[in-house]
Amino acid sequence: MTLSRKCVPFTPFEGELAKSTIALVTAAGVHLRDQEPFNISDELGDLGYRIIPEDVDSSQLMVTHHHYNHTDADKDINVVFPIDALRELQDQGFIRGIARKHVGYMGYTMQLKAMYEGTAREIANEIDKGSRADLVVLTGG
């Protein structure tokens, strides 16, 4: 499928937040400490992504990204990947649930076509299959 350059792809939402499950997808280079870091030595960028599980301990998350200053995210990952903030909104009943999986990737690439037609679709498939997400919050660095 080729999208028109003028068209904004838009999926409407007619449900309620209090009955919805949310996934986070971040371009901020977030991954688990025991996952392979993104390859920042490749000047073309890293086209990979990492799955972050629902029950992740946020202290086990880190950032590998060399195109923004992630000093603050190193102190509190919630400034780019608000998983603990999302859990508090769940506790308050603002949302129903946290998706079974979330995604981190490194939002810098010189291979835009491969990112757009490859990685982005793979990430969408991850969310579509088995995450149980009704809605996705996207964040950058």
């Binding site: 780019v80 608000p82 919050v137």
Partner: protein, 86 residues
């Protein structure tokens, strides 16, 4: 795939707009790396997240960017611009 509704939280609205996100919120003047504010400020993080999620239930125009101000952030950083093609 039927499509999943998304909302983007961005501190680089002009750059992000090039990717035509369906819905976006820009916390005005936040620096890159502070999409949800400062470390440890959970109240602000939650507020920005709530404001972003609330766009799902508002009748936003496809591609609309909503600019929100959070004065408690206490700083202003000029967002990066997209260089015009010559």
């Amino acid at each position: 795939m039927k499509g999943v509704p998304t909302v983007l939280i961005t501190v680089s609205p002009e750059v992000s707009a090039q990717m035509r996100p369906p819905r976006a919120i820009y916390p005005k003047g936040f620096k890159i790396g502070n999409s949800l504010g400062k470390p440890g400020n959970r109240d602000m993080q939650k507020q920005i997240l709530k404001d972003a999620l609330s766009l799902f239930t508002k009748n936003t125009r496809p591609g609309e960017f909503v600019t929100n101000e959070y004065p408690d952030y206490g700083e202003y950083h000029e967002p990066p611009r997209v260089k015009a093609l010559k």
